[in-house]
């Protein structure tokens, strides 16, 4: 038996309550055939020359970069920053014959052809996860919401669990994978689900219990840090935030900012307005609701843990938007919430948009081209 590992205590860093920030994983495409291309080093090198807000980071594969926004109090500031960075990225990518695109998956990239590079981290993941490591070339949006304390973070994660399908359906933009229509609105999450430490946070009541759970997992040698949990939503103590990780990267930064505003408004509601604790059965229904949202998007079936009522997910989002009127006013998020309502009412999701483009041309590289033009604001 090895020496007993002693878990480090997790310090929850204080951050401004309900501040928002997002991370977007973006696709780097060749402007020639619109397949993923290892363009990240060249693009990042060029972006280092220009001043831009936020941060751009390399990712596991060189066909991907991560755009991290700064921390913002308001939707408007976040949106402004995202547009600025987006325009700069589009311009610099154009100089390199590259295109940048949103969307949760690449429509026709073959994971079997995904080239794993001979770097230690790649090797480790490739050895451990086999084909899952290659299949993990998917693109998500992470939303961070600032929390002053660990207890509030745990409370918020439980509260948000009921609304997890909303985030999936509102961001779903991965109908195609490996060159075929998957029938899913978000095929990306299927790739995420296969990992052993995915799913949801355990049902712990507060930060102290959370720490105890983490210490146990650490002592068993299952995890080394919070990074090893791939949960849909998790506290992020080193940032002092709650992180929502179920979203596909939307096709446009505007939608990405709206999703952040939706999360901020919900968080305000859960921390300040809602009095009752989260319903008991929320985790019992979790996987069912999650699957429905991935497969059918806004048209999926949703079961409310509190009322046991079945309804169409679209209607639940509209009802939630109405319920959030007070939080919306308090956070100043009238505009993004109205835009979300409009998108839900017309029933137009990013996944539907992509399928419509495919019906027009019948050629997936054309779809990827349109998808990248949409993200770069060139349509």
């Amino acid at each position: 038996m090895n020496e007993r590992r002693i878990a480090p205590a997790l310090d929850f860093r204080h951050s401004a309550k309900l501040s928002i920030g997002i991370e977007l994983e973006l696709q780097i495409l060749s402007a020639h055939d619109f397949n993923l291309v290892r363009g990240a080093p060249d693009l990042l090198e060029l972006m280092r020359r220009v001043r831009h807000p936020g941060e751009l980071k390399p990712e596991m594969t060189e066909g991907m970069i991560e755009l991290n926004s700064s921390i913002h109090e308001s939707y408007r500031a976040l949106l402004g920053e995202l547009r600025t960075t987006r325009d700069l990225l589009a311009k610099q990518a154009g100089r390199l014959n590259l295109a940048v695109s949103g969307g949760g998956t690449h429509a026709f990239h073959q994971w079997a052809e995904q080239r794993i590079f001979d770097a230690p981290r790649f090797r480790f993941l490739s050895d451990l996860y086999g084909y899952l490591a290659k299949q993990f070339t998917v693109f998500g949006q992470h939303i961070h919401i600032g929390c002053p304390s660990g207890d509030e973070a745990v409370h918020l994660v439980h509260g948000l669990a009921r609304y997890m399908p909303h985030f999936i359906a509102l961001s779903a933009s991965s109908p195609f994978s490996q060159g075929v229509d998957t029938a899913f609105q978000s095929a990306r999450l299927n790739a995420v689900s296969a990992f052993p430490l995915g799913g949801h946070m355990p049902d712990v009541p507060d930060w102290e219990h959370f720490n105890r759970y983490f210490a146990q997992m650490y002592e068993y040698g299952i995890v080394d840090s919070m990074k090893d949990f791939y949960w849909d939503m998790r506290p992020k103590p080193e940032y002092g935030t709650v992180e929502i990780r179920v979203c596909d990267t939307p096709l446009r930064v505007e939608r990405a900012a709206q999703l952040a505003a939706y999360a901020q408004t919900l968080a305000f509601h859960l921390l300040h307005i809602a009095k009752e604790p989260p319903p008991q059965d929320v985790y019992l229904l979790y996987n069912y609701n999650r699957f429905q949202a991935c497969r059918f998007g806004l048209g999926g079936n949703f079961i409310d843990a509190r009322t046991q009522e079945h309804r169409v997910l679209k209607d639940d989002i509209l009802a939630t938007l109405t319920m959030l009127h007070e939080a919306t006013a308090e956070t100043g998020n009238e505009e993004p919430m109205w835009l979300v309502r409009e998108a839900v009412q017309t029933g137009q999701s990013d996944a539907d948009w992509l399928r419509a483009r495919y019906r027009e041309s019948g050629f997936l590289p054309d779809v990827m081209e349109r998808q990248s033009e949409l993200w770069m604001g060139q349509t």
Binding site: S30, A31, H32, D33, V37, R38, G39, P41, D42, E45, L46, Q92, G94, R95, L96, N97, R115, I116, F117, D118, F122, R123, S126, D127, F363, P365
Partner: protein, 403 residues
């Protein structure tokens, strides 16, 4: 005694087909040996196999076989040039004009450097001018083939494929222009007429092929490799037509490639992967190129050959590096991109041969300088190319098997 006259007479008659098959096996084997054992480019193996089997070696490649190989050679050349055309993006050049500037500067510098070096060494004006024009060009075959072999991706790869197209066209026109110039007796119309005929004629034939491809695509809706059959056919027709019309196959097929990429539905990505057939063509192309390499050289020209090689290499590398930063890449990658432009190959031979046919008096001196330089650059060019792509981290380095 039964009648045995149905047995063939010995020794067996020479069969071009048998020898051709053997050549392919030898080329393929040498390529794999080089690539797997020595980590050198496959095409260097093909070339060396060709040299060994050609007239400078065992002299197996001759007569009938050359005529047969010539067909494959033309298809292979045509397909590679066509694919370069498909990749060539005018939109990119509009978004990054520094690439056009880089092309003009590197070709211009190579021309000037070689011209001054050769005249300084006392080479006569006419061959020095033509040699300088040829020095502008880079092999349009080696960069794409080596890059594909290494699954290379990135700016050095992408720009090399663009710059070899531009400078090959510039060099071709420059040679045509210089030849007219040397025979113009100062009459301006005479200088422009032939280059203009070649340029416009080639573009028109290329456009024509593109329209035919678009029409056939609409009519036949080719699927599952059908478009490759049509493209090969059209490419062969194009090469034949260009030969009769005395136009440039290079420009014609480039234009054809650009056209199909942008306007012919169903063909857009048709030859991105010609697969096994494409690889076969590459083997034939370089084995035959190797067999054709004129290895004889005259020691008294050694200094001139060296001057040609060094001046051209220095000019291209310095020019590309100088514009690396404004064109949006690091100095290191700029230097490596310059190295990617070093290889020369069979397409440049054509320029020399053409000159020698129409101007025998220039041809002799020109051949003495340029042929050895091309041979040298064809042999070490692929190695330099591979090295540049690896150093730029653009070649794919697979995960080593765990020990």
């Amino acid at each position: 005694m039964p009648d045995l006259s149905f047995f063939p007479a010995f020794p067996l008659p020479y069969s071009a087909l048998v020898v051709f098959g053997l050549l392919l096996i030898a080329g393929y084997a040498a390529g794999e040996l080089f690539f797997r054992m020595l980590r050198l480019p496959r095409i260097t193996g093909y070339l060396l196999a060709g040299i060994a089997l050609g007239e400078n070696g065992f002299a197996l490649l001759k007569g009938d076989l050359f005529r047969m190989a010539d067909l494959f050679l033309n298809i292979a050349l045509g397909m590679i040039i066509f694919q370069l055309g498909q990749r060539f993006s005018l939109r990119w050049l509009r978004r990054n004009r520094w690439i056009v500037a880089t092309s003009l500067l590197e070709s211009g510098c190579a021309f000037a450097a070689v011209y001054f070096a050769l005249t300084w060494l006392g080479i006569a004006e006419p061959p020095a001018l033509i040699a300088a024009a040829i020095a502008m060009s880079s092999s349009p075959l080696i960069a794409p083939v080596v890059a594909r072999d290494l699954h290379a991706e990135g700016q050095v790869t992408e720009r090399a494929l663009c710059l070899v197209v531009l400078n090959s066209v510039l060099a071709f026109l420059a040679v045509a222009f210089m030849l007219s110039f040397l025979h113009s007796d100062g009459v301006i119309e005479k200088i422009y007429f032939r280059p203009l005929y070649i340029l416009l004629g080639s573009v028109l034939v290329g456009l024509g092929l593109g329209f035919v491809a678009a029409f056939l695509g609409w009519l036949l809706m080719p699927r599952e490799g059908g478009s490759v059959i049509l493209l090969v056919s059209l490419t062969v027709i194009g090469i034949g037509a260009v030969d009769s019309l005395r136009l440039s196959a290079l420009i014609t097929l480039l234009v054809f490639g650009v056209m199909t990429k942008n306007y012919a539905r169903g063909f857009r990505l048709a030859t991105f992967d010609t697969g096994t057939f494409g690889r076969l063509l590459v083997v034939v192309l370089f084995v035959v190129s190797g067999a054709l390499l004129p290895l004889q050289w005259q020691p008294q020209w050694a200094i001139a050959v060296l001057a040609f090689v060094v001046a051209r290499l220095a000019a291209k590398t310095v020019a590309v590096t100088a514009l690396a930063h404004p064109s949006g890449m690091s100095l290191k990658k700029g230097g490596l991109l310059g190295m990617m432009l070093v290889p020369l190959s069979i397409t440049e031979f054509t320029l020399v041969r053409e000159t020698a046919q129409s101007h025998p008096e220039i041809g002799a001196d020109l051949g003495s300088i340029v042929f050895p330089a091309i041979v040298l650059m064809e042999l070490i060019g692929p190695v330099i190319t591979q090295w540049a792509l690896r150093w730029a981290h653009e070649a794919y380095e697979p995960v080593r098997e765990a020990a």
